[in-house]
Structure formats: C-alpha cells, structure tokens
Symmetry: C3
Subunit: 365 residues, 3 copies
Amino acid sequence: MARGDLTDAAFEAWLTESDAAAAPGTSFFDTQLGFAVRRWCPPLLDLEPHAPPRRYLDRRRELGAAEANRRLLGATGIGAYVVDTGLPGDLTTPQELAAAGGGVPCHEIVRLESLTEGLADRADGTAAFLDALDRAVADAARTAVGFKSLAAYRHGLDLPPERPRPAEVRVAADRWLVTRAPGERLTDPVLLRHLLWSAAGTGLPLQIHTGFGDPDLRLRRSDPLLLTDFVRAVRPTGCTVVLLHCYPYHRGAAYLAAVFPHVYADVGLTLAHTGARAGAVLAEMLELTPFGKLLFSTDAYGLAELYVVGAELFRRALVGLVTEWVREGAWPAGDAERVAALIAADNARRVYGLKTADGHPDTTR
Amino acid sequence: MARGDLTDAAFEAWLTESDAAAAPGTSFFDTQLGFAVRRWCPPLLDLEPHAPPRRYLDRRRELGAAEANRRLLGATGIGAYVVDTGLPGDLTTPQELAAAGGGVPCHEIVRLESLTEGLADRADGTAAFLDALDRAVADAARTAVGFKSLAAYRHGLDLPPERPRPAEVRVAADRWLVTRAPGERLTDPVLLRHLLWSAAGTGLPLQIHTGFGDPDLRLRRSDPLLLTDFVRAVRPTGCTVVLLHCYPYHRGAAYLAAVFPHVYADVGLTLAHTGARAGAVLAEMLELTPFGKLLFSTDAYGLAELYVVGAELFRRALVGLVTEWVREGAWPAGDAERVAALIAADNARRVYGLKTADGHPDTTR
Amino acid sequence: MARGDLTDAAFEAWLTESDAAAAPGTSFFDTQLGFAVRRWCPPLLDLEPHAPPRRYLDRRRELGAAEANRRLLGATGIGAYVVDTGLPGDLTTPQELAAAGGGVPCHEIVRLESLTEGLADRADGTAAFLDALDRAVADAARTAVGFKSLAAYRHGLDLPPERPRPAEVRVAADRWLVTRAPGERLTDPVLLRHLLWSAAGTGLPLQIHTGFGDPDLRLRRSDPLLLTDFVRAVRPTGCTVVLLHCYPYHRGAAYLAAVFPHVYADVGLTLAHTGARAGAVLAEMLELTPFGKLLFSTDAYGLAELYVVGAELFRRALVGLVTEWVREGAWPAGDAERVAALIAADNARRVYGLKTADGHPDTTR
C-alpha cells in the first residue's frame, strides 16, 4: 500500500491501469471498479454505501491514512497475505501490511525482474553478475513462497520455450550490462527466459503475469496460451506454474490448468476491475478450470480499498455462483462448500505450502 | 436506407452480413437478428409481434416503402443521426434519412477509402492526386463530425503503426494509380495508413471498423488489439479513436478504452446481430470500458428495421443491466441513470461535438 | 465406448482431456464434467443424484460394464448415432454402440488421418499409396456420412488454404513414407491439406476439429477462424464444413457459420466439459450462428456417462434458453420449439442426409 495520505489525483490514479489522467469529461470513478469501491468502502469509514467520491475522499483524509487503512484491511477477512515485494514506489512492507491487516501472516513473492535489475545496478562484470543472480534466486527460494515473472510486460509471452544455453545467457547479459543505464528495465528475451528457468529450478511456484494490466503491455502478447510450449518444456522440472489475472484470455488459462497437472490459474486483478460483472467472469473461469486449480488473489496494491473490493467481490461472486448451481440441482450442497473453500484458500495454501495456524479455512490473498 | 420497395430476397439479404443466399433449408430470418426484427417491427406496421416473415413482407409492401420507413424510423427514439456516407448502393442521403426520421439532426462521417477511391477515379498524376486527397480530407473536416476507416476490410488491422514517410506514400500512390482499374478498391497498406494519419491530423474523431462484418474481412485480423501500437503512435496528435463493433473482441476494445485516454468503444452492429443476447454482450463491454467511453450506435443501413432493432435492443439491454445492478446493490440508482444517459447519447455528443437543441438526452445513432 | 469394466484410474482418465493423473491434492471429479456425471448418472444405476465417486464406481462395477452401459445409453434419448470410427483403443464398434443404445441407427464418420496412417502402414511405394488413398476416400464416401480432420492436432489450423498440387503431394508422401516408423502419426501439412481437399471432393460433409481437446494440440492454433481462407477456397466445390467443439473460439465459429453458406458449427464436447455453464456457453454460440446452422453432438467416447451428460446438459441448456427468451418476449413460442428441434436433430439430419424412420425429431448424436 501507498504510505501516508493521498491527493485526490493520486487516489484516482491507483483506481486504474491507465498511465494518464481520465479523458476530458470522464472519471475513473465511473468504472466498475470505481462503483465497487463506492459500494464497499464508505461504510467502513462511517459513510453510507455509494457515497460520492468527494465525500469519500474527504472522510478518508479526515480519518488519516493509518486509521483508514486499518479499518479497510481489517474488514477484508483475508487470513494470510502472499505479497509481491518487487513493486516500485513508496509502499508498505509486507510486515507493515500484515500489521495493518490485524496481524495475519504475510509471505513473500519475489519478482524476478526487480531482483535482477537490482543486481545489475551494482554488477561488477558479467560472470559475477550471473553468479550473484544464481545465488540471489537460491537465497530468495529459502524465504519466499514463490517467484513472479513480468515477461508479459517486458517482452510479451511469445518467447522461445526452451531453457537458453549458458553461452546465450552470457552473451545476452554481457550486452545488457554494457548498454544499460542504471535503473533501466530488463527486456532482453534471453534473460527473461533465464529467469523463468532459474525460478523453475528452485521447486517454488512460478507466477506469471498474463492478460490485462497497464498500457505498457500488448494484450495480445499476454495471452496465457502463448505459454503452452513453455509449460510443456518446464513440466519435467516439477515446477508449478500459476497464471495470474488471465482476462480476457481466462478461458485459455482454464484450458491449460485442465490439461497440465502443474498449471494453476489465479483470478488476480480481474474481479476487482470487472466489479458488478465479477460473478460472470468467475463463472467463465470455472468452466474448464478444475476446482482444485483455481486460486483467489486480489492483486491489490497502492490502495487498501483494492483489498476490500478484491475480497468482497470474490466472496460474493463465488457464493452467488455455487448457491445458484446448488439451487438448480447441478452441484451437490456439501461439495459446493468444499469447492468454495478450495478456491478461497485451500488451493493457495497447498500450492504455496502455507501453514494454517489453527487450521481454519481463512481467505488467502 | 435502400430506396423504394424491396423484393423478398433483397430484404433478406439486408438481414445478414453474408454475401450469399441462405444455405438450403435455412433462412436468415432464423437468426437472433431475424427474430428481433419480427419482435419489434410488425407492431409498427399494425401487425402483432412475431408475425411470420411472409405476412410482414406483404404488409410492408402494402404500405409502401416511404410509409413503412417513416413509421419505423419515427419509433426509434433516435435524437440525432451520425451517418457514414461512403456506402455503395442506392441509399437515402443523410438529409432524406433525417426527414424520414421526423426531422432530427443528421451529421456526416466521411469514409476515408470511398473518398480516396473517388479521387483516384479522376486523378491526373500522383502529385495532383495526393494534393487533392489532402484538400479533400481538410474540406471534409470542416463539415463532417468524424472519419471512418475500413482498413480491417481492405487489409486487416495488422498494419505498421507509424505514419508512412511522404516518399513511401508517393511510391504507393504511383503504383496504385498506374495499376488500378476504375472503381477498384483501395487495399494498399501504405495508403490505408496514410489515410488513418491524415484523418488523425484533422482533430476529428477517427472511427475504425473492428470485429465482425461481412465475409470480405478476416476476423482474426480485425481484432482491435492489433491497433495497440497505432493507438500509442497516434496519441501525441490528440486524435480520438473510436473502435466500432469490436465483437467478438469487445473485451480487448474495452481494455484499450480503459488504459488509453483517447480511445473509445462503440457497440456498433453487435447488439442488433446478437438479438436476445444483446444484454449479455453489452454487459461484457461494460466490464472494462469506463462508462464515459462507451458509445451507442446501430450501424443500421439498408433497412429501416435495423434502426428499430438496434435502438430497441440497446435500450432494453442497457435498462436491464443497470436495473439489475441497482437491484443487487452493486450500483447506486442515481449514478445508474446518469451512466445510462452517457452511453445512450452524452458520450457521443461529447466525442463528436454535437450540440443539443434543447439539452434533452436523446439517443444518438 | 471402452469395453469391459474399468479401474478407478481408467474411469477418471476418461473424465478429462489431460494426459496425466490429476495434480496432487486434486481430482478430475472436481470439475464441471465430474459434477455433471455425478448429477445425472447415479440415478440410472439406482443411486441418488450426486452420489460420491467412490459409491458410484463401486455400483458401476457391481452391475458390470454391459448392464451399466445399457442403462446409461438407454437414457440418453439419442435417436441416431453418427460416430467417428478412427479412435484408438479397445472401443466398441458403431454396431455394438447402436445395440447398447437400444437399437437406434448408427452412421459412420471416417477419420482421415487414421485412414491414411493405416494405408501407409502397408504401403508399397508412393504412387500406389496415393492411389490407394484416393480409392479409400472414394470407398468410404459410399458408406460413411462424413469425414473428419484432426489437422488441429497434427499441425494446427494455420495451413495454406489452397489445394496442394499433385507434385507437392507426391514429394510429401515420398518423404513421409521413407522416414516414417510403422504406426507413426501423420503431421505433414501438405498431406493434411491433401486429405481435406480429397474429402471436399466427395460431396460429403467435412468435420474439422477446432478449439480445445487434449494437451496434444496448441489451442491458439485451433482457432476455427484460421480456416477462413480454406473455407473460401473450398466453397466452389460445394463441400459442407462442420466446425466441431470450437470452444473457447465458438463466437468466431458462429461468425463463419453466419457469413458462409457452407459452414456449420457443432457444440461437440463443449457442453459436457462446461457442465453447470453449458447454458451460458450454448447461448454464446447462439449469438451469431443461424439457427439452421448449429448442430448438437456429444463427442462422447470411452464412457457411456459422457453420452448421458452430453445429451442431458444440451437438452436442459437449450430448453432453458428458449424458455427464457420466450418468457422475455424476445422469441415467439412456436418458432422456439421449431428452432430447438433444428438444433437437436433436424440440422444434423439435413447436413448428413440421415433418414428418419418414423419422422419424429429424435436427438441425433
């Protein structure tokens, strides 16, 4: 989460994946996400549901960020956080997030590209850099619960599937280190593949961003089906692949989860951004995805509000669907409850190897 | 609209995007569009809803085209027409359409390829042709409210995004003018890009056909996401891009409208052709599209019936969705009404710079 | 159908398109298909709906495969089978299937690749092989009601559309016969195209696998829209093209069926695998597909249970949709019944030239 109080413009900027101000005559509050925030968050700050943006922002500032965040996070029902720590900006640490969330456990996902860029900023030659990268991945694997790749943003998922040969990696790293300005992002396809395969070798789950996001990516090149050959190639390593977000290619992701035992799908930021349509979209993910293969997450960052709406929309969407399917007689009531618990928390606990303190099926980020 | 009375075959041909007669044993009336026409049009000609095609066609002929068109258009509730005037065939002028529609305002969209082909038919050398094209675009910009590109039909949207250099344009124009038979359609990708960029330079909105249409196009090459790099490249010009139709790639179009301030989506012919499913499809468009970024249109042409069903299906779909979302508590009632007015008319008025005579939120084509 | 009794593992393997055991901690019964089997099949074996997998498998074994299959197939309401006979494994013949199904008529679809591989196994030179292939296709056309292509599995549908020249075919056949191990599958794109065109020349309908299936295929390369240019090229031959399955690209298949008179879409395995969502998916197919162009099938094989759920889910999905559309006033009641009969059986009878013994609109495979 962003630290401290936010200006109106900063708040609205966190409400969108766009990199620009809203078009003239429009507002990012006039979106499914904006309407969902207005539905679920004002009551947590003592306002009525659907309070206008102006009143909500004033009240948020009046309470102060710390109190507002405490109230918002406290209401999510999230029982454990699994947090990508590679995001830029002045954000809370996982520890601070866990504290603000009422002391629930917090686990780390290491963003491969951020890790690599940090090492490149202080690299002393290609060989040393690649050694340091190997060690850093191995070190991260001892404390983190998974890795995450942003290859979709940095190149597109249309990458050659196989592990790059060491000589290729050396040449690519050489070129990158020589030409790179400090802080410059990693976009080299050979190095991006090297990261995917390095993570796969650790035995930890590998999250891959797929589907929509900010305008940096080309959506067609983020189709999870572009990973099909990588998924096949990496299968013998035992690596678990978690496809994040997936929208609007979530049916393709569901197919991969259905036919490859080591592939999982995660709703990611999809439900928060589709708001009143979250149930309809979740239903599409539940066409082919085996029920033991779908994971809940919020992809929230920046605003505590995004945790609230991510969790609330997911919970209502899932309950709505299984209630309806039980009512129609298509699903048995007992199994429906079990499947809901799988998707809400148990699948994530199994995939990431999380321990439950008390064994109760809390919702995991 | 087509002038005069229509044979049965001509009427049925306007009911489909196909270029052939219906397959043996089938009828174009047996489609969602056909059922929608039968639902909404017969009562306007004094028949019961769902009257069989035979009775409807007989009654239409009995009344005569002029009277039938007057009755049909008069019932659409459309408050202003924005009409592409580049279609072939013996069609009414915008002025005749406006008169038949009860005297509502009518605005013109200039179809770039038709304009160019007309100039090519009477061109006297490449330099003169390109000058004339420049002037024609500038002239059109003084009276029209926007331009429209059919690049999807003529090549596919998989075009290089950047503005072609003047020398490239000259070479392409040279080649085209030399080899072209009179009336031949423009398919050269350099010239198609030149048209897009020429229109972008005028400051008027640029409509681009995306998604389905008649069998002339290759649907995969009409995915609006193929325009992503063009959308980025054209952004500094201030050009507003309106993605028409979009189906079945409407979620991708919605993404572009969500992340790029200068991109809008338009439902186009999608709702008329999906009939009983119009609400479901509109709901998908309303997942990511910001509410200030979605426009209504009918894409009607040929038959007055298409204006009726385009408007009727849109209105019922939109009212159905927002009513449901308000009922579920997901949307606030006041905002729902405001958003419905945005999509039905206000967004189009803002984008095309239309004036409201009396300020009431009539539906725009 | 598989012959004889099945182990638990074998049963579960037929429940998925995956080629592997379910992931640790998951079960293929925990899918929409698994839940649908548990909903519809246990009552046919004297158990309550939704009986747990363990009880169901025990009861199935207790009854024996022959009795279980007889009960299951007897309950499908299928009035005629149209069966692909090119599947590997110890499966029942069409005659045995028809007998187990209570003596309904059974028709054959010839799988082009299997036919070809069988001839290659005993080929004596390229010229003789190609002659034998021509004869085999012509012979099959005398008894079968259609052909089926698996080009999606063997190469992808991104094939050059035009008929390969005889010299190309000879060269490709030469190379294939020389390098091929006995039993090896056909993947050569020239020969795959030769098969498509050979079948097209017979005048029988040509089924093409599109959309999802087992992990052998690359789903992006199974998009039916990749066939657009083939569909155009083959049009003058009068060949009818039936696009099978189509999911998740069924809206693209619907578009092809809408604009090309010789193209049809078939729900295939889509409804069985999407279970509680079958109605939603069928509704999407019914957006653009003309009602005379959509065919029902189950794609069932291996388990009699798949015929039951394929037929049951289709019937309930279709009845659910048309009932709703009639209730909303969008569809006329009389036509709704007629359209349901078209999709359930009449379209298939017309396309495959099947005779009805008694003229009643039974469901066709």
